[in-house]
Symmetry: none
Subunit: 413 residues, 2 copies
């Protein structure tokens, strides 16, 4: 498999507020043709560091792409540093200067003299024309390796790559066939997922996996490489099926869907509806389910009953229940879900009530104590969880547990 490294150039990319979007985009395009990006570097306007970064990258990778630093000002140093790293000269091209002068004239301006720098090109490099800006790009063959210099602005960088670079890299790389799947698992940690998944995926050849914990779910991604797309798909299907089997109901999607999309799909398929009664999540469960376009088909309403009186008035929770067990209790959760079911007329209702912190915890009910209840055709049931994390995470994890309780209830019907 061919490998690539990307070097993004410019002091502004080392600041706290700028994200290097080009490299994210390039990584995706390279991955599509079977080239793996193994390292990215972000370097400021320091010539020595840049030269070293290019030389080092070329030792390791088949393809080195730089972005940025091709402008006319003092601190645009990519041309010179790339040439030095390759041990080549910069050659002046008067045709580039002519084109630049014409373009400036078309904008009604004279070309500033410093733009002359942009007419220098690395010896032996192919020029990549840039109809969208003043900086041409370069593609230099170094034996079987390739060094590509692209301009920084995404609206110049990305079309140049698509129009002038991609086809030539494809030729270099040859055809590859990759099929990817994204599975998600709820209620298990990263290491527990890996312990269960590893014996399965390691029994397949040519499969790359990555496992990532994302707030409250584990993402298990596979990339299957085969000699044809059909073979890659067949193997991906088989591996996915075996993993789905092993994880059972804990794996809530094999196609990368969000939890809220899965729940929405299950409700749509059944032509059923839902309402939520929320306390500590403060509207987050309703917000998540309505993130999915078309959710008005199955989501009727959300009752964010933050205060005691709101719980009594909106949901019909009994004052005695609150007095005896408190708002954070299985009893209150059950009455909230049953109340939401009744007032909304929905097929299903789910409630959440708990202590998200940072204050409000007690010995009996520490921060992170959350009760959930489901009410629907099969009756009412409640669960209690003790969730780790800060306020943000406890609330997020509570919303996930509420949606998951609904999902499991729908699948069990």
């Amino acid at each position: 498999m061919k490998t690539a490294e990307i070097i993004a150039i410019g002091s502004e990319l080392l600041g706290p507020s700028r994200v290097d979007t080009n490299s994210l985009w390039l990584t995706e395009k390279l991955s599509d043709i079977g080239v793996e990006v193994q390292l990215k570097t972000i370097v400021g306007d320091d010539g020595a560091r840049l030269e070293e970064a290019i030389a080092d990258a070329l030792k390791r990778a088949d393809i080195v792409i730089t972005t940025g630093g091709l402008g006319p000002t003092e601190d645009d140093i990519t041309r010179g540093c790339t040439a030095k790293a390759l041990g080549r000269e910069l050659v002046y091209h008067d045709d580039i200067e002519t084109i630049l002068r014409e373009r400036f004239r078309a904008w009604g301006r004279e070309m500033p003299e410093i733009n002359k720098r942009q007419a220098f090109v690395i010896e032996g490099a192919d020029i990549l024309e840039n109809p969208r800006g003043s900086a041409v790009g370069m593609l230099t063959a170094v034996g079987k390796k390739r060094v590509i210099n692209l301009p920084g602005p995404p609206r110049e960088n990305q079309p140049m790559f698509t129009d002038l670079v991609l086809a030539r890299l494809k030729e270099l790389v040859g055809e590859v066939f990759i099929e990817r799947r994204l599975m998600k698992i709820v209620g298990m940690g990263e290491s527990a997922v890996d312990e269960m998944a590893a014996p399965i995926y390691t029994s397949f050849e040519g499969v790359q996996t990555s496992i990532l914990f994302n707030k409250t779910e584990v993402e298990l991604q596979i990339a299957v490489r085969r000699d044809s797309q059909a073979e890659a798909e067949t193997t991906a299907d088989e591996l996915t099926a075996r993993l789905a089997d092993a994880f059972g109901i804990a794996m809530f999607t094999t196609t990368g869907e969000t939890m809220e999309a899965v729940v929405g799909r299950l409700l749509s398929e059944r032509s059923e509806t839902v309402a939520f009664a929320e306390s500590c999540t403060g509207g987050l469960v309703s917000r998540r389910i309505t993130e999915v376009p078309g959710s008005s088909a199955y989501f009727l309403e959300g009752l964010v009953a933050y205060s005691y009186p709101a719980k009594v008035r909106m949901l019909g929770v009994r004052q005695e229940t609150l007095d005896e067990f408190g708002a954070v209790s299985a009893e209150c959760a059950r009455e909230m879900a049953e109340g939401a079911l009744k007032v909304s007329g929905a097929t299903h209702a789910v409630s959440v009530t708990g202590i998200a912190g940072p204050d409000g915890g007690t010995d009996d009910k520490p921060v992170g104590t959350v009760f959930f209840a489901y009410a629907g055709p099969s009756g009412t049931r409640s669960i209690k969880l003790l969730l780790p994390g800060d306020r943000y995470l406890i609330r997020w994890r509570s919303s996930q547990a509420a949606l998951d309780l609904l999902r499991r209830s729908l699948l069990r019907q």
Copy 2:
């Protein structure tokens, strides 16, 4: 000036979908103490490359910080590679294993055997405890230089840096005096903000500014560098006051508060309460206001009335209003706010109803049409906005406009 390099570790960071937020945050914190980040590397789970990256960085920079790769799974390789790059051994600490086992038990689970790996620490390194996760960090002195290994999850990484690393780096670096302020402006674009702010901030020496558009607000950050902290603060105060004057009510914070925190503070100061009636935002406004700890003091309830019947039953919207003007109308928004005010007994109520898309738009009311109403002691008023963006952004911007309507109403009382 001391220099730093940051190395972010993990294949997932080389993918197209994940942004390395830690390094942005770390860059800012390092800049605060006068350390300049000169290079960033993102490396996958390739041991040889990581080892080389750490060794190279240590040649160039005074401080090398790695993030990620400290988990228990096969592809978490930071411990081993850092040790090799420094020419040191990994040493097993049974006290770390003991703590890990106890922590897993507190979660009601047995520690998986692979987590044992997390008990290995680089020879001579100081252990950085991690109350928020299973991976401890490390700080290793290499002559006058420092190598710091931090866990990847921002919720572990950032507190560890703040609590255990920052003070020690300050000691290393010596004193610099920088005062920063983060102002936020709503209802204006990035370039309009810069046009208004530039004549003011350019009249000050030794001030760095950055302007960043963030979904629905513009962040204007200033960093004032002076010979003493008192001088830096005085100048920052003066510049902030002049900017606040220029922007007026559009600048909702000069101290980096979120919109929901500002609204919460205004309500708390007045000992008043609020309720929300939401349609297209689906609970997002309630979710945002309850993101602030202690919000139960002023937030009574949220009524997410997604369906027509819910609007009628929960909020007392008249069926004739829905028939004549539709749910997306100033009339419906007004009745929603007035209904929420009445049923909740809150001091103030705000409603949102609109078309978040992607479907549901008409010629009259295209996607992005959103009506808001405020009802309270000063009466009822409604506004209409046409918001750009996709479903996610329209919903986010609607939540911001709803909170801002409340803020402006509170300030005008």
